[in-house]
């Protein structure tokens, strides 16, 4: 192994090791970058490498940081976050929960199905994972427990439904992926619709089958009332405003009327109107939303900034070439390489979360995929169809990273709001079937790329 390779591998290992100290991810990334710039500099002096790293070169971090600020695609990010937090405060989700429960009242597993359905609606309205998981847990966990649901099923349903938002558009993850790879946000949003809905449908089918095979695990409530027209009307009243908002935001992007940035701004505005309509809006709420937007945006961008330093130094050490030559040198054939890459991402997802993987690993993989020479039919309309498809595979694989222990953010959020007698191992046990479902969905996408590409290819007239 030559020195550059050793340095690249050492840099990755140092990063992972430092992560587990609990120092914030952003600073671990930035600090490791600076540390290895120093090591690269010394290696140039004493070990005959030519990384060219030194104090001056590190100044590129500022130019790169500026390009993060000067970026009209990423403006959508805080706006979607604003919209999500505002919806969370607007009380619409609670109303949804109460009324939809009546609709599914007599079906075994009906409550769990309701949770998943609301998870899908929340996902399509914003997809702030933390907010969705917490919201679903607070609204449904105690009810499910009272109805006699098995604890793992209840927990697994909440965690997985709450995580759907990262895949179902609008999704801040897809916005960032589009930015990183120079793809169209619209193509990615549209590409994700069918995979996202498919995954949601798979959850629901799994829950219904479980209810049917093991009535004890997902019972129907004893006092369930028959569905009345009045109950149905109630559900409609609760669902309609939210659906309208989703329709306006996503519809305007898909129809090409608005850019994702404009749609995100309109969505934030619409969520505010919805909160007013529900009489939940106040100056205090606005301040909470602003503060929440500030915090969430900032911690994502802090990781951006740290990662830009890390990626710069990694590139100068020769990381790009190393990974590219390693992957293209694998004796597996194109699909074998894709399986291998997805396997690695799945494993990385145990420890890292989507931001680091998207910012550091994904850009390294794009040229590899383009070089595979896969001939995926995008009907001539989708630019880079094989890359769009691949990104969706990665997105699906990253979806699992929220649920896989030990580092799974959905698990942490859920644990945070569970009663103290619920153990982390209960949660782990609960999410296993849902992780398997996600892997199954991933497999379907690998062999049916049209599930991803059909919509973006046909959406433009």
């Amino acid at each position: 192994m030559d020195i550059n390779e050793i340095l690249v591998i050492a840099m990755f290992l140092t990063f992972i090791a430092l992560l587990f100290t609990g120092i914030p991810v952003a600073w671990v990334l930035g600090g490791t970058g600076v540390l290895f710039a120093g090591i690269g500099y010394l290696a140039d002096l004493h070990l005959d490498t030519i990384t060219g790293l030194d104090y001056t070169t590190l100044g590129l971090v500022v130019n790169r940081l500026w390009k993060i600020m000067d970026n009209w695609i990423l403006v959508a990010l805080p706006m979607f976050i604003f919209m999500g937090i505002m919806l969370d405060k607007s009380g619409v989700a609670e109303r949804l929960m109460q009324s939809m429960q009546e609709l599914f009242g007599r079906v075994r597993g009906g409550l769990a199905v309701t949770v998943t359905a609301i998870g899908i609606i929340l996902a399509a309205s914003t997809g702030i994972i933390g907010a969705s998981v917490v919201l679903l847990a607070v609204m449904s966990l105690s009810t499910m427990t009272k109805q006699g649901y098995s604890m793992p099923l209840a927990l697994g349903t909440i965690a997985s439904a709450g995580t759907l938002g990262i895949l179902i558009p609008p999704s801040i993850m897809l916005v960032i992926m589009a930015d990183q790879l120079g793809l169209s946000v619209g193509d990615l949003f549209m590409g994700a619709v069918m995979p996202g809905l498919m995954l949601g449908a798979m959850y629901i089918i799994y829950i219904l089958i479980t209810g049917w095979l093991k009535p004890g695990a997902a019972p129907a409530p004893e006092d369930a009332k028959p569905v009345t027209p009045a109950a149905f009307l109630n559900v409609m009243k609760a669902v309609l405003p939210t659906l309208l908002l989703i329709f306006v935001v996503l519809g305007s992007i898909f129809a090409g009327i608005a850019t994702p940035t404009e749609a995100s701004g309109v969505g934030a505005f619409g969520a505010t109107l919805l909160a007013m309509y529900n009489r939940k809006f106040s100056f205090r709420v606005l301040k909470e939303v602003m503060s929440g937007t500030m915090n969430t945006t900032a911690y994502i961008f802090a990781i951006f900034i740290g990662a830009t330093c890390f990626a710069l130094v990694l590139r100068e050490l020769g990381g790009d070439e190393l990974i590219e030559s390693f992957l293209t040198g694998l004796p597996f054939g194109p699909y074998g390489i894709i399986f291998f890459i997805l396997g690695v991402i799945f494993l990385l997802g145990f420890f890292l979360d989507w931001i680091e993987i998207t910012l550091i690993i994904l850009p390294l993989l794009a040229p590899v995929i383009s070089a595979l020479g896969l001939d995926i039919d995008g009907y001539g309309v989708v630019d880079n169809p094989e890359l769009v498809w691949f990104v969706m595979l990665v997105a699906m694989a990253l979806q699992t990273s929220f649920l896989t222990p030990p580092v799974g953010f959905a698990l942490f959020y859920l644990k945070g709001v569970c009663p103290p007698d619920v153990k982390l191992t209960d949660i782990y046990k609960g999410v296993i079937p849902f992780i398997l479902l996600q892997l199954l969905a991933l497999l379907v996408l690998i062999f049916l790329p049209q599930l991803v590409l059909w919509l973006p290819a046909n959406a433009y007239g």
């Binding site: 590129l60 500026w66 390009k67 940035t261 590139r315």
Partner: protein
């Protein structure tokens, strides 16, 4: 001799013919001609630093060289666009005549020196006319432009602004997405063979010629001045002459590859249009206004403009007599 590594971020992907391919050719030739003493490592756009940051990065020594076109710096140096492409300006032959045998190159360097940028500039590619834009509807009269948002490069942008167009500058990679999503309604980018790579024809069908705003475009290699001074005379000559050879190479490549692509575009339903005289006259009138404003606003812009104009007035005598008329469009 001493080995030299030129780390060179580029403003255009090297997969783009004529825009990005020349610098790749330069890097290969440098290696061969210097017996491996000069190595140029190319970084695709944004890998190390984004196109708009190249000047800053080279000047501050964060990288020791970079490949771009001066028009990108017009927010920093108003005169820069004159060294990139000039509306109703010289064609390639005349442009090179002014640069190499007039005062062009000296003024070019002077601009960076006066601006406090620590760079040595070397023209390193030149390409023939660009198309003047892709629109979703025919543009027959000046009012048809009113209210459009358009990606437009360099000085031509100021002309379009005068016609009620909102202009933005964005790198090639961002254009398709912006157009597709309606952030912009129209765009110009480069020559037919390059525009085709961006897939613009999938969204907008009216492709207008001639490129009044860019009859010829010069690309530059920027080298950090400290690096340049440390280079031996032989290395400097190798770099300068490789770039000079690249000028020939780029224009030959650019001239050769347009017509097959235009033929293909026609078959894909693209409407190839030539501006009517009213439109061309309008562009020219507005350009004259822009020149008046820019020369008044920036003394150095005036200095370069005056020099170039004097040269061109002299050249007119030759040009009017030396060349056959262009083939009439049928």
């Amino acid at each position: 001799g001493d080995k030299l590594l030129l780390k060179t971020p580029v403003a255009f992907g090297t997969h783009l013919p004529a825009l990005g391919s020349p610098i790749k050719w330069v890097s290969e030739q440098l290696q061969v001609m210097s017996d491996g003493d000069i190595k140029m490592k190319i970084y695709e756009p944004g890998k190390l630093v984004s196109p708009q940051e190249i000047l800053d990065a080279v000047s501050s020594g964060k990288v020791n060289s970079g490949y771009s076109t001066a028009g990108y710096w017009q927010g920093k140096l108003p005169a820069a666009a004159l060294f990139s492409a000039v509306p109703f300006g010289p064609e390639a032959g005349e442009y090179m005549a002014w640069m190499y045998y007039g005062n062009g190159l000296n003024l070019y360097q002077e601009m960076y020196d006066n601006g406090g940028y620590n760079v040595k500039v070397i023209p390193c590619a030149i390409i023939s006319p660009e198309t003047s834009g892709w629109f979703s509807k025919p543009i027959e009269k000046p009012e048809d432009l009113q209210g459009l948002n358009m990606r437009f490069f360099g000085l031509g942008a100021s002309v379009m602004e005068k016609l009620g167009v909102g202009t933005v500058q964005m790198p090639g990679g961002e254009i398709f997405g912006a157009l597709e999503k309606g952030a912009i309604d129209a765009t110009e980018f480069s020559q037919p063979a390059i525009d085709q790579r961006l897939g613009l024809h999938k969204i907008v069908k009216y492709n207008y010629f001639p490129g009044w705003h860019q009859q010829a475009t010069v690309f530059e290699l920027l080298v950090n001045k400290d690096t340049w001074k440390e280079m031996s005379e032989s290395k400097q000559a190798i770099v300068e002459n490789t770039c000079k050879a690249s000028m020939t190479n780029a224009i030959a490549e650019g001239e050769a590859m347009q017509f097959p692509v235009m033929e293909q575009a026609k078959q894909n339903g693209v409407e190839i249009r030539y501006w009517n005289q009213t439109m061309l006259d309008t562009f020219k009138t507005k350009w004259d206004e822009v020149v008046e404003e820019k020369t008044a606003a920036d003394p150095f812009f005036k200095k370069v403009w005056d020099d170039m104009s004097t040269f061109r007035q002299g050249y007119d005598l030759w040009e009017a007599n030396a060349f056959l008329p262009r083939v009439q469009k049928d």
